[in-house]
């Protein structure tokens, strides 16, 4: 009962924080420069881990499924299979999880230490709204960069899959490429761009909320950072299920 109450309370507070961040954008000052700085940290800064994650995910997908496909005589379809898995599922989710671990934790730790060292209070005392200055730019930066990073992960994954099928399974590259083309459908592209929008919002609002609600000194910062990453990751995976179902209904299920 108590846990349920806590969950509902946090859900309400996270929603309120996010709503305020957007609502307060209608009035000046707006900190665009801060948002661009965040995009640089989040986007450019995450590119290397996204490259590695995407590349090896695509590679291992081929490693695992090539022989099964070959058993049914469908090895020429491996590119399509990799593209489907990446665009619809693995690209968005893995990018979301990696960014939650790398950026979500950093946001919570940064805001959390600003709270415990009274920098947030100082900011308010000096007449700046921390929701406008700190929360809104981070959420906006995540909303813009996460779809881009996901797309990058998808491309690296397809490259990884192509390299594996060529050098390990001796599949003709042009065959791989043409089956990838079959996999890049409008519906798949929509899915691979809509999911990261939701995940970006989750990462931004949960990590900012956890940071700003930090109490209990430096130990508290560690606690809320851990909680933030765990909560964001679980939220991404659960949201993914419902989002997938909703998108299937909206776009129509097919291959």
């Amino acid at each position: 009962m108590n846990l349920l109450k806590l969950f509902l309370y946090e859900l309400q507070e996270i929603t309120l924080l996010t709503a305020r961040a957007f609502y307060r954008l209608r009035k000046k000052p707006r900190y665009w420069r801060e948002a661009i700085k965040q995009m640089d940290t989040i986007g450019v800064g995450s590119l290397s881990i996204i490259f590695l994650t995407g590349f090896f995910t695509g590679a291992v997908l081929v490693l695992q499924s090539f022989q099964i496909l070959a058993y049914y005589g469908a090895q020429s379809q491996v590119g399509r299979m990799v593209t489907f898995s990446l665009l619809r599922e693995l690209g968005p989710v893995l990018t979301g999880l990696m960014v939650a671990g790398r950026i979500g934790s950093a946001i919570t730790a940064e805001l959390g230490s600003m709270v415990v060292s009274q920098q947030i209070d100082a900011m308010r005392a000096l007449g700046t709204d921390p929701i406008k200055k700190l929360v809104a730019p981070r959420i906006i930066a995540l909303l813009i960069t996460l779809p881009l990073l996901t797309t990058a992960a998808n491309i690296f994954g397809i490259i990884g899959g192509g390299i594996t099928s060529k050098y390990i399974f001796n599949l003709d590259t042009s065959l791989f490429i043409s089956s990838v083309r079959d996999g890049v459908t409008t519906k798949n592209l929509i899915v691979s761009l809509v999911k990261p929008l939701f995940f970006g919002l989750l990462i931004g609002s949960i990590s900012c909320y956890k940071g700003l609600s930090t109490t209990g000194g430096t130990v508290g910062v560690g606690n809320s950072t851990t909680k933030s990453v765990v909560l964001t990751s679980v939220a991404i995976i659960i949201t993914d299920f419902f989002l997938t179902r909703a998108l299937q209904n909206i776009l129509g299920i097919d291959f």
Binding site: K27, P29, S113, M114, S117, Q118, Q119, D121, A122, M123, R124, A125, L126, G127, T128, D129
Partner: protein, 273 residues
């Protein structure tokens, strides 16, 4: 300034109550700070001193009671309305609370940068404030390169920029060596006597109380600021002491009255035994 304006207190708390969960922190606090007055708040740590300061700034809301700044009831103000009121108030935080990611210059300039003033004016003001706290050399340093006393003084410079008429000091000398603590008290005295600033000065060090209640700043013939002791010539009336205990004010008055008190708790508090 009109006659009426002089009577309106800079800060007024009326019957303020505040609890955290089931812990009563403030249990009916009322006091006023007149224009140009310094109120020293004494009390054990955990006694609610910082809480009072946070209430005055509107960072937290009381459970009951009213808070006035310059006669304006801020108790129910929304965050945007409070932003306007906070422009009149400078705040010196317990540990300085400098922005780690900004240089000393950008920390002190913060308020003016937010107001979008041209850089020449900002730089001029920042240098003036850093000179006031005698830290102009540190202008390009980052906060982590500063000592505790320097951080505190940068915090004071940041609070003073824009010439607020009300300044709140939260234990500005805690953990500092005696000469640095003395310098900070001198800054507070200068603000009170030369700039007519109203302030709340939270501390638990009796030495600070002695400085603030017995010395005043004047400008001598050479144009220098000097500190003189009160005596037959002048008795300071613009500095009063409040003592807080268990959420209530148990003493309020001048230092002379404080020395005469027979209350055993206060005597122990003053002499440490």
């Amino acid at each position: 300034m009109s006659e009426n304006n002089k009577i309106v207190p800079a800060i007024e708390l009326k019957d303020v109550y505040l609890s955290y969960d089931d812990k009563k922190v403030l249990d009916g606090i009322s006091f006023t700070v007149r224009k140009g007055e310094t109120k020293i708040i004494l009390g054990r740590s955990g006694g609610g001193k910082s809480t009072i300061i946070r209430l005055i700034l509107g960072l937290i809301k009381p459970d009951a009671g009213r808070i006035f700044i310059d006669g304006e009831d801020i108790t129910d103000y929304s965050e945007p309305e409070l932003m306007r009121v906070r422009q009149k108030i400078g705040m010196v935080f317990q540990e300085g609370a400098l922005f780690d990611s900004l240089s000393v210059y950008d920390n002190v300039a913060y308020k003016l940068h937010e107001q979008g003033l041209p850089e020449e004016i900002v730089e001029q003001e920042v240098r003036k404030m850093l000179r006031f706290v005698e830290l102009e050399d540190a202008i390009d340093k980052m906060p982590n390169e500063l000592s505790g006393g320097m951080r505190r003084r940068v915090g004071i410079a940041r609070a003073l920029i824009g010439h607020p008429q009300i300044i709140l000091f939260d234990e500005p000398t805690a953990g500092l060596d005696p000469p640095t603590a003395r310098t900070i008290c001198e800054l507070a005295i200068k603000l009170r006597d030369l700039e007519n600033v109203s302030s709340v000065f939270v501390t638990h060090e009796m030495k600070n109380v002695e400085y603030l209640t017995s010395e005043y700043a004047v400008i001598n013939e050479k144009g220098e600021v000097v500190f003189e002791k009160e005596g037959e010539k002048l008795c300071l009336i613009n500095t009063e002491v409040l003592i807080l205990r268990e959420g209530k004010i148990i003493f309020s008055g001048t230092d002379e009255e404080l020395k005469k008190t027979q209350d055993p708790y206060i005597k122990r508090f003053l002499h440490g035994r």
